[in-house]
C-alpha cells in the first residue's frame, strides 16, 4: 500500500514536470532540454532555503521563481541570439549543473530533519484526524503518506486549473497560436520572441516546482536528480495524449497529469516484478522512441496492406 501511495504521489509531483514539457514541446514544438537542469535547480533552491530555516511555502515559491529565470534564459538565447533551440537548452542545462552545485555547496542535501511541505501536510493531517495511521480495506496507511498524497493532489489541481484558465486568456491564446502558426501571429501584432521567452519561462517554472516538491517528498535534493527528466516528461505527455486524444487544451492538461501518474504506476509495478532500477532510463527512452515512431510506422503498414 505504501508503495502504491508513493507511486501516486511521485506521479502527481512529476505531473508538474509533464505540464512543463507539454508547454515547451507540444505548444511551442520546442524540445527544451533545460528541464534536466531546472528540475534539480528547483530542488536545490528549495533545499538550501529549507535547511536555512525558511518557510516551506517561501522555499517552494523561490524554486518556482528560479525555474522561471532559467527558462527565460533559454528563451532569450534562442530568440535574441538566434541559437538553435536544442543547443540553447543544452547550454542552459550544462550551466545549471554548475549553478546547482554552487547553490547546494555539495552534491546532496538531506532534508529529513528540516521543516518541509511534507512535514507541514502531515501536521495538518494529524491535527485534523489525530491518529498516526488508519486502515483502508485491511491496509494500514500512515498519516504522512496520506497527507502528502492529498497535499500534492491539491497543488496539482490548482496548477492544472490555473494553467487551463491561463490558456484561455488573451495572452495564453496568443501563446498557443504562436506554436501553431507564427506567420499569422506576427501579422496579428504578436511578438513571437516574447511569447517563446514567456512560455519557456512558465514551462521551466513548473518543472522547478516539480523538483522542489520531489525533494521535499523524498527528503533530499541531489544534483544528479535531473538526468533524463525531459524524456520522462515526454513519456507522460505521450501517454496522456493516448488516453484523452489530441484536442482541447483542458483535456491535454488532464491527460498530461494522468499520463504521469499512470507511467509512475507502471514503473512501480515493473520494479515490484523485479525490474532492475538501473534499466529504468533505458526503458523510458525506448518507450518514447516507440511512441514517436509507431504511429507513422503502423500507418505505413496499413497503407501497404
Amino acid at each position: 500500500m505504501t508503495l502504491l501511495l508513493g507511486a501516486l504521489t511521485i506521479g502527481l509531483i512529476l505531473s508538474l514536470l509533464a505540464l512543463g514539457v507539454f508547454i515547451s514541446f507540444r505548444i511551442f514544438h520546442f524540445p527544451d532540454i533545460t528541464a534536466d537542469g531546472s528540475l534539480p535547480l528547483g530542488a536545490a533552491t528549495a533545499a538550501v532555503l529549507l535547511v536555512g530555516g525558511a518557510s516551506p511555502i517561501l522555499a517552494t515559491a523561490a524554486a518556482f521563481g528560479a525555474g522561471l529565470a532559467a527558462g527565460a534564459v533559454t528563451g532569450i538565447l534562442h530568440t535574441k541570439f538566434r541559437i538553435n533551440n536544442l543547443l540553447a537548452g543544452i547550454l542552459v542545462m550544462t550551466a545549471l549543473y554548475s549553478i546547482n552545485l554552487r547553490i547546494m555547496g555539495r552534491s546532496n542535501i538531506p532534508l529529513l530533519s528540516a521543516d518541509s511541505l511534507s512535514a507541514r501536510a502531515e501536521q495538518i493531517g494529524l491535527c485534523a484526524v489525530s491518529t498516526a495511521g488508519f486502515d483502508v480495506a485491511g491496509w494500514t496507511i500512515s498519516m504522512r503518506d496520506a497527507s502528502s498524497l492529498l497535499g500534492v493532489f491539491i497543488v496539482v489541481a490548482i496548477v492544472g486549473l490555473a494553467l487551463y484558465a491561463f490558456f484561455r486568456t488573451n495572452l495564453g491564446t496568443a501563446m498557443r497560436a504562436t506554436g501553431d502558426n507564427d506567420q499569422m501571429v506576427r501579422a496579428l501584432g504578436i511578438n513571437v520572441g516574447s511569447m517563446i521567452i514567456l512560455g519557456l519561462s512558465l514551462s521551466n517554472g513548473l518543472i522547478a516546482l516539480s523538483g522542489a516538491l520531489l525533494a521535499q517528498y523524498q527528503g533530499f535534493a541531489d544534483v544528479q536528480m535531473g538526468i533524463g527528466m525531459i524524456v520522462l516528461g515526454l513519456a507522460s505527455v505521450i501517454i496522456g495524449e493516448a488516453l484523452v486524444g489530441v484536442r482541447s487544451v483542458g483535456l491535454l492538461i488532464t491527460g498530461a497529469v494522468m499520463g504521469s501518474v499512470l507511467f509512475r504506476l507502471l514503473v512501480a509495478i515493473a520494479l515490484r516484478a523485479g525490474l532492475n532500477p538501473t534499466d529504468l532510463k533505458l526503458i523510458t527512452a525506448v518507450f518514447v522512441f516507440a511512441a514517436l515512431v509507431l504511429p507513422a510506422f503502423l500507418k505505413r503498414l496499413r497503407g501497404r496492406a
Binding site: A174, Q183, G189, I190
Partner: protein, 278 residues
C-alpha cells in the same frame, strides 16, 4: 488622421531591395520604387513572376526591412518597425489559405486574437460572452454557416472558408492599410469568386485603403480604382480614374507583351552596343 489634410495614407520613397547581393544569384527585387496611395484607394498590382510585386507588399508589411528608402504609413515612418509592430496598422491576407489562421485553435479563438490586433494582450478572458455574440453575428454575414461552429478547430475547415475568415480577421479592426497577396490564387474557381466578392464588398463598405496583388487579369480589370504594373522591381504603368475604368483584361495582356518586347529590345540593344564598341 492624415486623410483630413489630403496627405496620402501610404507614401513609399525610393524603396530598394536586393536579394543575394553581390552573388551570381543577385536579384534586384525593388529598384527605387516611389508609390503614394490615397486614403480609401483600392490599388491592384500586377506583374510577371519576379517583378517585385510580392516583395513590395512584404516590404510594407515588414516581413523584411528594405535596403534603402522610406515607408510612411498613416503619417508614421514605419520602415524601422518590426513586423508585429506594423501589424497594428496593417491587415493582411496571404496567398496560402492556411497561413492566416492557427489550425489547432477554434474559429472563435482565432477571431478573438484578431480582435486584439494592435492592443496589449493580458490576462482577461480571450472569448467573453459579448465578443462571442459579435463574432457570431459577423461570421453569419459570410453565409457559410460557420457561426454554428465557433468552437470547432479552424483546421477542420476548407481553404475557402479559412480564407474568408482570414479576410474577416484582417479587417476586424479597421486597418489603415489592407494587403492582399494573391489571396485567391490557391483556391478553386468557385471559392476564389466568393472570396473576391467578399473582399470587394468589405473594401467598399469600410472604405479600406487596399493594395491587392493578383495574377488574374480578370480581377485586375474588374476590381479597384487604380492599377499598377510592375516589372523588374520597377513600376512601369500606373492607371487610375477613367483610364483604369476603361482597361480590359486584353489591354493588360497587351501591356505585358509590350513590356516583354522592351526588355528584349534592351537586351539586343546592349548586345549591339557591346559588339560595336567592345
Amino acid at each position: 488622421m492624415t486623410s483630413d489634410n489630403g496627405s496620402p495614407m501610404l507614401a513609399i520613397r525610393r524603396l530598394s531591395m536586393t536579394f543575394s547581393a553581390a552573388t551570381a544569384n543577385e536579384v534586384k527585387a525593388l529598384q527605387q520604387v516611389d508609390l503614394s496611395v490615397d486614403p480609401g484607394a483600392f490599388v491592384i498590382v500586377i506583374g510577371t513572376n519576379g517583378s517585385g510585386k510580392s516583395t513590395l507588399l512584404n516590404a510594407v508589411a515588414g516581413t523584411f526591412s528594405a535596403d534603402s528608402g522610406t515607408i510612411v504609413l498613416a503619417g508614421r515612418e514605419v520602415g524601422g518597425w518590426p513586423e508585429h509592430r506594423r501589424a497594428a496598422l496593417i491587415g493582411r491576407v496571404f496567398q496560402n489559405p492556411f497561413s492566416g489562421t492557427a489550425p489547432a485553435l477554434s474559429i472563435g479563438e482565432n477571431i478573438a486574437l484578431a480582435a486584439r490586433r494592435g492592443s496589449a494582450r493580458g490576462l482577461a478572458r480571450a472569448l467573453p460572452g459579448n465578443l462571442r455574440r459579435t463574432i457570431s453575428e459577423r461570421v453569419r454575414v459570410l453565409g457559410m454557416g460557420l457561426e454554428e461552429r465557433l468552437d470547432n478547430p479552424i483546421g477542420s475547415l476548407s481553404g475557402g472558408q479559412r480564407q474568408a475568415l482570414t479576410l474577416l480577421m484582417a479587417t476586424w479592426i479597421k486597418p489603415k492599410l489592407l494587403l492582399l497577396d494573391e489571396h485567391t490564387a490557391a483556391l478553386d474557381p468557385k471559392s476564389a469568386d466568393q472570396i473576391i466578392r467578399l473582399s470587394d464588398r468589405l473594401i467598399r463598405q469600410e472604405r479600406l485603403t487596399t493594395i491587392m496583388v493578383t495574377h488574374s487579369m480578370q480581377q485586375a480589370a474588374n476590381l479597384g480604382d487604380r492599377l499598377i504594373m510592375m516589372d523588374q522591381g520597377r513600376i512601369v504603368y500606373d492607371f487610375s480614374g477613367a483610364e483604369k475604368r476603361r482597361l480590359r483584361a486584353n489591354d493588360l495582356l497587351e501591356r505585358f507583351e509590350e513590356v516583354r518586347r522592351i526588355n528584349q529590345l534592351d537586351r539586343s540593344a546592349a548586345d549591339m552596343l557591346r559588339r560595336t564598341y567592345i
